[in-house]
C-alpha cells in the first residue's frame, strides 16, 4: 500500500486472478473456447436483421412523438434511440445505418433549442435508416447509400453551424 500526503493508493483486496486462473497458473484463453464463442456469435447472425428492425421501429416511434411535440425530453428520447443504433447497427451488420444514426445523434446532441427545429432533416435521417434496412444494404461501399449519408452529414454540419450563430 502506498500512502502519501495527497492520496492513498492500494491494490483491491479481491483478486480475480486467484479465482479464475487455472491450476497451472496460465492466464491463456483456450483457443477452443474462443472458437466456441465465435460460433455462438455466428449462430445469432440470423437474428440481427430482426433485432435491428425493432431498434429502427423504436427510432421511428421516438421521431413521431418528437415531431408532434419537440420538447427537450422528447429530443432526448430520440437522441438515445439514434445513439443506440449508432452503436449497434455495425455489430448487426449494417454499418451505413450506424453512420446515418451517428449523424442524427450528432444533430440531436448539438441543437440547443428546438424552437426552429430542423424537422425535415431529422425525418430524412429516419427515412434513410429505414430505406437502408429495407433494401438490405450491408455493403459499406454502396454508392447510393454513401452519397445519401454524406449529404445528410453535410446538412447536419451546416444546420449546427447556423444554430450556433
Amino acid at each position: 500500500m502506498a500512502i502519501n500526503d495527497n492520496a492513498r493508493i492500494f491494490m483491491p483486496p479481491i483478486s480475480l486472478k486467484a479465482k479464475v486462473g487455472s491450476p497451472t497458473g496460465t492466464l491463456m484463453v483456450d483457443p477452443d473456447v474462443l472458437k466456441k464463442a465465435e460460433t455462438a456469435m455466428e449462430n445469432l447472425r440470423h437474428e440481427f436483421s430482426g433485432w435491428l428492425a425493432k431498434d429502427i421501429e423504436a427510432l421511428a416511434n421516438a421521431f413521431s412523438v418528437f415531431a408532434k411535440s419537440p420538447t427537450a425530453d422528447n429530443a432526448g428520447v430520440l437522441f438515445r434511440a439514434a445513439h443506440d443504433l449508432k452503436g449497434q447497427a455495425t455489430t448487426f451488420e449494417y454499418p451505413l445505418i450506424a453512420r446515418v444514426a451517428a449523424s442524427l445523434a450528432k444533430l440531436m446532441d448539438g441543437m440547443t433549442s428546438w424552437d426552429a427545429s430542423p424537422l425535415p432533416l431529422v425525418a430524412a435521417h429516419v427515412d434513410a435508416i429505414a430505406v437502408i434496412h429495407r433494401e438490405r444494404i450491408k455493403d459499406i461501399s454502396n454508392r447510393t447509400a454513401l452519397v445519401l449519408a454524406e449529404e445528410l452529414e453535410g446538412r447536419v454540419v451546416k444546420t449546427l453551424a447556423k444554430a450556433s450563430q
Binding site: I9, L16, G21, T26, A37, T39, A40, M41, T91
Partner: protein, 167 residues
C-alpha cells in the same frame, strides 16, 4: 489447453437494449460463464448487484433513468455498495477522449466500444482479471487508478494534490 476458468466468474450485464444484452450474454455463456445476471436499467441493476455480488459488471453508458456513469459512481461511492472494487467494463458508442475521461472519473476500469466483437469482449475480461488496477482514494475520487502506467514526465493535472481521507 489449461485456460482461464471463466466458469468461476459471476458477471452482471446492464444494458437497456435487450438485443445487446442477449449478444453479450451469449458470448459469455459460450466461453463458460455460468453465473450470469442481467438488468435493463440502473435501478434494477443496483438491486441485482446487492443480491448477487458479481465479480465483473459490463455496463452500458446510455440508459434511460440512471445512466451508466451514475451507476458506476454509485457502485464506487455508496456505503450500501456490496463491492466498491468490482471491475466495471463500460459498453459504449461514445469514443471521444472527453467521454473516456468522464468514464474514468466515474470509476470505470475498461472501455468496450461498439461495435462489439468476441475478441473485444474477451480482451476486456482478461484485462480486468490479469491486470487489476490499483485503487486511489482522494478527497474527490475513489476508484481505479486513472494513470495506466507510471510516467516520469507526467505533465497533466495533479488531481491527487488534495487533502486525503485516509482510513
Amino acid at each position: 489447453m489449461d485456460g482461464l476458468r471463466f466458469d468461476k466468474l459471476r458477471v452482471l450485464v446492464v444494458d437497456d437494449n435487450q438485443h445487446m444484452r442477449k449478444l453479450i450474454i451469449t458470448v459469455l455463456q459460450a466461453v463458460g460463464v455460468r453465473d450470469l445476471f442481467e438488468a435493463p436499467d440502473g435501478e434494477h441493476a443496483w438491486k441485482t448487484l446487492r443480491e448477487t455480488n458479481p465479480d465483473i459488471i459490463i455496463l452500458d453508458w446510455q440508459m434511460d433513468g440512471m445512466t451508466g456513469l451514475e451507476f458506476a459512481s454509485l457502485i464506487r461511492n455508496s456505503p450500501r455498495s456490496p463491492n466498491v472494487y468490482v471491475p466495471i467494463i463500460m459498453l459504449t458508442g461514445h469514443t471521444h477522449l472527453d467521454h473516456v475521461r468522464q468514464a474514468r472519473d466515474a470509476g470505470v476500469n475498461e472501455f468496450l466500444a461498439k461495435p462489439v466483437s468476441v475478441k473485444a469482449i474477451l480482451s476486456r475480461l482478461i484485462n480486468v482479471i490479469e491486470h487489476p488496477r490499483q485503487f486511489v482514494r482522494t478527497k474527490t475520487y475513489f476508484g481505479p487508478c486513472r494513470r495506466r502506467r507510471a510516467v516520469a514526465a507526467y505533465t497533466g493535472p495533479e488531481r491527487r494534490t488534495e487533502f486525503t481521507l485516509v482510513d
